[in-house]
Symmetry: C2
Subunit: 203 residues, 2 copies
Amino acid sequence: MFIGAQVSLYPMTSDFVDVITTGLTALTPYKSDLRIETDDMSTLMVGPPEPLFGAIRDLFAAAAKRPEHVTMHVTLSRGCPGEPDDATCRCEVLERAQGESLADRKQLAAQAVGSAPTAGVEIDVQFSLYVMGSDAHMDEIYGCIDFLRESGTFFKTKNFCTRLRGDAGAVFETLRQAFLRFGPAEGHVTIDLTASANSPSLR
Amino acid sequence: MFIGAQVSLYPMTSDFVDVITTGLTALTPYKSDLRIETDDMSTLMVGPPEPLFGAIRDLFAAAAKRPEHVTMHVTLSRGCPGEPDDATCRCEVLERAQGESLADRKQLAAQAVGSAPTAGVEIDVQFSLYVMGSDAHMDEIYGCIDFLRESGTFFKTKNFCTRLRGDAGAVFETLRQAFLRFGPAEGHVTIDLTASANSPSLR
């Protein structure tokens, strides 16, 4: 299993380099658990979902606590057949999920969001979950949408994606649960995610 | 068939509202062919691939011709089973593709990129193509990667995505061909796309 993300932070300010640098310092505690490599377009993070979503959450929360409008785009992937197996990405939640029904997984996901830590910053997210290589992929998508609607972070559906809104802690736990608990445990699942904070459109 | 995109433009400047407004004026010629709706996170565009990719290209090219660093994120989708059928999205290229071999589709895609108009601005792109609901999805992905490598816009592969680089005209034609010619003609295919121009990392 290979699990990771390509992450890009977009501050809507002429001081964008300073905001990005602030965000990247939030990654320091994760450097022992994740492989992190930055190029001119995005930061690659490879590792298990626990530190992976924690790092993405803390990166965005650090930037969002500043006053400037900031957005982030993340491409998440697990189980891509084109990527090499990586022992550092091992995840017990995924392994256990193999024997769990869709109903059980919805309940476990809701419990995890309910006990998520508070990050102290309100954010907006829209995302799409993709399940590849399975004729039953829409069953898993609809199961995931049921969970999202009850998650406490659900805002609305849009064409091609779902909007979440709330504290960054609950929102990123919702995303982690969507990524981990839906779609085959050994399958190829991806998320296309956009986050936004301090948008002048909402003032 | 329902075809469309959620598009977000991210100018890395305190004048971001002005850059976004500049970009949105480039959409005017497309308003008769596409349904276009903007909210606080993205602009929905619904319609056939010819004007759809033209509108996304012209939006980004207009912003990229200014001096500021600007990025764009696009979530593209065709054939999503959760979306209603929409007659305005009808596409002859997709209909013809049903009877074409993978080898023929690679050749037709390369010809289309070769005759793409020049937009006059150099851009960087990274994107992921997802093919849902088919056990053979990796055959289509690898066929698409073959086409990309010969397209003239290929830059490099990265984990989870492919980098393109070149004139916006050729780059967006490459993306349109990847979206249209690979994956089942009646299937659910999506693209997670990020574009970048004027990045200080490349100076």
